[in-house]
C-alpha cells in the first residue's frame, strides 16, 4: 500500500515537472520570438533624414542669401524638412529620445521657430533671413545631438536585448532538459508496464512458469518450424489431499517448490509450463531426453517433501507423447499425452508411460479408456 502511494506521488511529481517544463518552454519560446521581432526604431532614420534635409535647407538659404535664384528648390527643401520634423514629432511614441521630455520639447520649440520662417508666408530677406539662418543652424546642431543620443539608445537597447535573449535561451534549455527528463521517465514507466503486462500474459503468476498461452505459442512455433518434439504431461498424485489436509498455503508452496525443481532438471532447450491446477508440461526433443527427465522428475517425489514442517506425500504420473513435425492440432498432442498419463496413473502413479499409437484393429477398445 505504502509503495503504491509512493509511486503515485512520484508519477504526480513527474507530471508536474512535465507541465512546468512544457509551460516554461512555450512561454520562453514566445518571449524569444518577441525579442527577435524587436525592430530598430524608425525614428533613427527619421532623425537622420532631418539632419540631412535641414543641412541642405541651410545650404540653400545661404545660396539664397548670396543672391542665387534657388527659390523653387528652397520651397521644396523647406517642405521636405517640415515633413522630417513631422515624422519625428507625430511618431514620437517610437523614439528613444522621447523618454526624456525635455528633448522632445526642445525639438518642438525648434519646429515652432522653423514654422515662423515659412518661406511661403514670410519674405526671407535681410534680418528675417539672418534669424532663420541662425535658428536653422541651432536646430541643426540640436538634431545632430539627438541623432547621437538616438543611436546610443539603440545600442543600449540592442545590448539589453541580446543579454535577455541569452538569459531566455538559458532558461529554455533548462526547460527542455526538464521536458526530456520527464518524457524519458514516462517512456520508461510505459515500457516497464508493458513488459509487466507481456510477462503476465505468458506466465503463471504463482510459479512464474510459462502458462497455457505461452505453451500454445511454443507448440505453434515448433510446428511452423517443422520440429518434432516430445510432450511430458505431469499430474501430481495426491495433491488434493495436501490442499485438504494442510491448506492452500502449503499447496501453493508445494507447487512453487515443484516448479523450481522442474526448472532445475530442464536445460536451456526444454520448455516447462504449468497448465493449471496440479498439471505441468515439459517439451523436449528426443525420447532419451524425455525419459531422462521423467526419471529425474520421479526422483523429486521419491521421498516426502517437507513444506512448512508438513510432510507432503505426493507422487507424479507422467504421460509422454511424440509429435511429428506435421502433427494435428495442439489439443490432440495433449490428448495423447493425457492418455499415456492416465495409463501411468492407473498403474498406481509414480511412474511414466509413453503413448503408443493403438493399432487400427484395437482402436475400438482404446476408446473405452478413461480420458
Amino acid at each position: 500500500m505504502m509503495m503504491r502511494y509512493k509511486k503515485m506521488y512520484f508519477l504526480l511529481l513527474i507530471v508536474l515537472l512535465f507541465i512546468i517544463s512544457a509551460g516554461a518552454s512555450l512561454i520562453l519560446l514566445n518571449k524569444n520570438q518577441e525579442l527577435l521581432l524587436w525592430n530598430e526604431r524608425a525614428s533613427g532614420r527619421s532623425l537622420m533624414q532631418l539632419v540631412i534635409l535641414q543641412q541642405s535647407y541651410l545650404n540653400l538659404m545661404l545660396q539664397h542669401q548670396r543672391g542665387d535664384d534657388v527659390s523653387e528648390q528652397l520651397l521644396t527643401s523647406y517642405d521636405l524638412t517640415w515633413s522630417a520634423y513631422q515624422s519625428l514629432l507625430k511618431g514620437s511614441k517610437n523614439a528613444y529620445f522621447i523618454s526624456e521630455g525635455q528633448r522632445i520639447n526642445r525639438l518642438k520649440y525648434f519646429f515652432t521657430l522653423f514654422k515662423e520662417n515659412d518661406p511661403t508666408q514670410v519674405n526671407l530677406t535681410g534680418e528675417q533671413l539672418n534669424t532663420a539662418l541662425y535658428n536653422t543652424q541651432e536646430a541643426h546642431n540640436y538634431s545632430l545631438e539627438l541623432l547621437n543620443h538616438e543611436f546610443q539608445g539603440y545600442s543600449r537597447m540592442t545590448h539589453q536585448r541580446n543579454l535577455e535573449s541569452v538569459r531566455v535561451n538559458e532558461i529554455m534549455i533548462i526547460g527542455l532538459i526538464g521536458l526530456t527528463f520527464s518524457g524519458t521517465i514516462f517512456l520508461l514507466i510505459i515500457l516497464r508496464e508493458r513488459r509487466k503486462m507481456t510477462y503476465l500474459a505468458f506466465h503463471d503468476p504463482l510459479t512464474e512458469l510459462a502458462n497455457r498461452t505461452a505453451l500454445k505459442e511454443k507448440v505453434t512455433e515448433l510446428q511452423n518450424n517443422k520440429i518434432s518434439f516430445y510432450t511430458l504431461l505431469i499430474d501430481i498424485d495426491r495433491f488434493k489431499a495436501v490442499n485438504d489436509n494442510f491448506g492452500h498455503d502449503v499447496g501453493d508452496k508445494l507447487l512453487i517448490y515443484l516448479s523450481d525443481e522442474m526448472a532445475k532438471i530442464c536445460g536451456e532447450l526444454e520448455f516447462v509450463a504449468r497448465l493449471g491446477g496440479d498439471e505441468f508440461t515439459i517439451i523436449c526433443y528426443s525420447k532419451k531426453a524425455a525419459e531422462k527427465i521423467a526419471l529425474k522428475l520421479l526422483d523429486i517425489t521419491k521421498n516426502t517433501i517437507n513444506i512448512k514442517e508438513k510432510n507432503c506425500d505426493i507422487g507424479m504420473s507422467i504421460g509422454i507423447s511424440f509429435s511429428k513435425s506435421k502433427h494435428k492440432a495442439w489439443v490432440d498432442i495433449f490428448k495423447e499425452a493425457d492418455v499415456a498419463m492416465y495409463q501411468a496413473k492407473e498403474k498406481g502413479g509414480d511412474d511414466y508411460h509413453i503413448y503408443e499409437p493403438v493399432p487400427v484393429s484395437n482402436r475400438q477398445l482404446n476408446l473405452q479408456l478413461p480420458t
Binding site: 525592430n39 521644396t76 515633413s83 507625430k90 511618431g91 514620437s92 517610437n94
Partner: protein
C-alpha cells in the same frame, strides 16, 4: 481576412481635389519607367484618382495615431502602365530610394496613398504619394524591412522586369 481595404466611393475625395485638379491637373506626380518594355508613363493626380480608390486604416512607426489612408492599389497602377512589377526601384523627392521585389508584398495590397483621413497629402504630410502597407492587418509586416518599403514623397518607379526574350 482582416483586410480593411475597401472600395471607396471617392466622391468626397474628388470633391476635395477639384480645386487642385483645376490648378495643378497638368502637374506630373508619378513617373513609371521600364526599359525592357520601353514604358515611359507619367501620371497626374486626377489620373491616379480615376483608378478605384481603396482605404487602409493603420498605425505606422511615424504616426502616434491610427489614420485612414486612401489611394489606388500599386498593382492597379502597374497594370495601367502595362508593366509587370517584379524588381522595382522607388525614388522619393528627398532622394531616398528603395529596391525590392514587388511579388514579396503583392499579397498585402499596398496602396499609393494620395490622401490621409480624406485630406490630400502634400510634401509636408509625406505626399503627394505615400506607399502604405496595411501594417495593422499583418503582424509580419511590423519589421524594419517592410517599413523601408513604405516610401513617402514618391516621384518615380523604375521597373526592372525581364523580357520574354531574356527568359528564353
Amino acid at each position: 481576412m482582416l483586410i480593411k481595404n475597401k472600395i471607396k466611393k471617392s466622391f468626397f475625395l474628388l470633391l476635395l481635389s477639384i480645386p487642385f485638379l483645376s490648378a495643378a491637373s497638368e502637374k506630373v506626380l508619378l513617373k513609371i519607367n521600364s526599359d525592357v518594355r520601353e514604358v515611359r508613363e507619367q501620371y497626374t493626380l486626377s489620373e491616379l484618382l480615376h483608378l478605384p480608390q481603396y482605404e487602409v486604416r493603420t498605425n505606422t512607426p511615424w504616426t502616434n495615431e491610427m489614420h485612414t489612408y486612401s489611394g489606388p492599389y500599386l498593382e492597379d497602377v502597374f497594370a495601367l502602365a502595362g508593366v509587370r512589377g517584379n524588381e522595382i526601384t522607388l525614388y522619393a523627392l528627398d532622394h531616398y530610394q528603395i529596391s525590392f521585389n514587388f511579388e514579396s508584398i503583392k499579397k498585402y495590397k499596398p496602396i499609393l496613398a494620395l490622401a490621409v483621413d480624406s485630406e490630400l497629402l502634400t510634401v509636408r504630410t509625406k505626399g503627394p504619394i505615400w506607399v502604405v502597407l496595411p501594417l495593422d492587418d499583418y503582424s509580419e509586416l511590423n519589421a524594419a524591412l517592410y517599413h523601408d518599403y513604405m516610401i513617402w514623397q514618391l516621384v518615380k518607379i523604375n521597373v526592372n522586369e525581364k523580357s520574354n526574350d531574356d527568359a528564353l
